[in-house]
Amino acid sequence: MSIKIALAGNPNSGKTTLFNDLTGSSQHVGNWPGVTVEKKEGTLKGHKDVMIQDLPGIYSLSPYTLEEVVSRQYLVSEKPDAIIDIVDGTNIERNLYLTTQLIELGIPTVIAVNMIDVVRRNGDVINLKQLADALGCEVVETSALKGTGSKEAAEKAVALAGKPEARELPPVFNGSVEHAIAHIEESIEGKVAARYLRWYAIKLFERDEKVIEELKLSDTLMEHLEEHITACENELGDDAESIITNQRYAYIAKLVQAAVKKKHVGQKMSASDRIDRIVTNRILALPIFAFVMFCIYYISISTIGDVVTGWTNDTLFGEMILGNLSTWFESIHVAPWLSGLITDGIIGGVGAVIGFVPQMLILFFMLSILEDVGYMARVAFIMDRIFRRFGLSGKSFIPMLISSGCGVPGVMACRTIENERDRRMTIMTTTFVPCGAKMPIIALFAGALFGGSGLIATSAYFIGIGSVIISGILLKKTKAFAGEAAPFVMELPAYHVPSARNVFHSTWERGWSFIRRAGTIILASSVVLWFLQGFGIVDGVFGMVDDNNTSLLAAMGTVISPVFAPLGFGGWKATVATFTGLIAKENVVGTFGVLCGFSEVAEDGMEIWSNLAADFTPLTAYSFMLFNLLCAPCFAAIGAIKREMNNAKWTWAAIGYLCGYAYVIALLVYQFGRLFSGGSFGIGTVFAILVLAGLLYLLLRKNKYDERIHERKVAANV
């Protein structure tokens, strides 16, 4: 028979790191709360019959958030054989709140005091024996990051699994509360499993709606229970839920005072606090964030990344692979069409994308360091301050952080936002932040038309965030999204040296999927594109064409291209690239690789992207880049939007909004850019002025819904 062990604990206490350590799994670990939304399973290394289940991080077993509902539901209904409660040793007082609730479940529990290395470094001492005696549980010290103690915790949990709990519960509550709980236990005996009797009794005392709904007690019994609860409330002068909370904290405070010796009692600031004084400073925070992001993009796109990508494109693909392959094909008399398919189609398309892998890896590596060190959690805090002014909360920034890797999990992460209006709005706007797949587009144009400037990538990132803010202002003034931003509470994890394992794993995970996509979906698309751009009808005869301007693809692109003419890129190649970008955003680059003759240019020894540069000016390139960064994401992300919206109307609204917004921004950038750089005043300029006026009106108009909320508040206060 298999044993089920649940890993429970506060957000960011190290559960997923411990889970990976115990199971040899490679789940994503992020140094911000909320990485795990749903439980994950794995087998304990060396024990095929022991299943470890990683639960989402929670602060309590009260069903206030989705994570709490998931964890609580699992612990109560799926009855694990044992629990390993991961307690952050550096923040033991708050973490023990959940512990006091877990041990009431009657499931054998092992407490793993994690981050013990940091506790020791701080000079603090935790008396594990005293803690174990008081709580009636086994207590072990662990450092999940360094891999110490986790095995011992798991072995203790395996030994305890399934054994009936004979321990005495800690005296958390005073006599009056225990009296009421005892009465409730007596009343519901036989209606719930004996193991969970006390837990249900406490929840009924707290008037937990979900438990009341689940037990379906008769009205007479509920009235009887209510008498005991009310009597206790009257005696203690507080409501039942607050009584339970306060008494838990009072008990924990006493316990911590006895079992934990802090080296620095009082207000001495930790290293993290000192760093936070600067990086989350009201004035400095945003410039520091902008500078950090600039450095990251500058290093990955312009300096080291540019050198390595240049070598991959020019030397590896251009000279070594394409040069040698073309010569070999000629020598063995391969048919020109097949040679063209391989060199122009497959290598042209896939090679163009693969060429950016070094830049991507450097970018992902640095973003992973920022995540693991704890800085990105601060960014959510910084952004909350800004977002709140525009009706969004910092909670919306967490999906955006995830979106910088990939839009799909970014959209999925929106489900942790309880407020439906905020959730929908975040789903609609989270893909504005450039994902990894959009980076090759940025790198391509930065290299081809802007001399490899790091400012192009940095501007794309901040235009993405700016678009979220603008959308917040626009949408919050509409009936569908009006309302106050939900409160955002987030614990800032202590800074720590990034774990090489986490950083390399995260970099490889993202980088490998990029390569995998190039070898699958981009390859397939490149072949189709090569066929469509290589064949056409000339003089009524279908066949291969010498000039791709007479191809089938050109014919299709030309029909749609006038739509993009006001944005400055009305050519059929740019139009086709925009549409193929919907399959996968890297495909924009792959498409140019096929259409601009990647192989021919390379063979001539010219700059790989000079053909592309000939089709664009810096202004039209920037407009094209902006449109492709801000418009509807790839099909995979659109699928995620559809799943999360669970409504066809909202899905289409999201796609329509993204495309419309991208069109407006690209139009304004191109038309005004053209005007200010000496272009003539034309019908496009008039159109742009009208659009700008409309946009400004929508941004600056009064929010009538805000006034109504204010009126309602005043009325409620009266």
Binding site: S26, Q27, H28, V35, T36, V37, E38, K39, K40, F329, I332, H333, V334, A335, L338, L341, I342, I346, G405, C406, G407, V408, P409, M412, A413, R415, C435, G436, A437, E509, R510, W512, S513, F514, R516, R517, G519, T520, I521, L523, A524, V527, A584, C634, F635, A636, A637, G639, A640, R643
Partner: protein, 57 residues
Amino acid sequence: MFELIAQNLATIMIGAVVFAILAAVVIQLIKDHKNHRSSCSCCGCKNCASSGVCHRG
């Protein structure tokens, strides 16, 4: 017939390899689609922290 094959042997062999690779790619894409593995930049839904919510069982 044999002469034609002999003349185009390189094209046939390389064409067969390319066709096999393309077929494998298409089969992989269909498999991924059936297994709910999206083609996003994060190794598909399998490694996503929220995967359990979308793909129960």
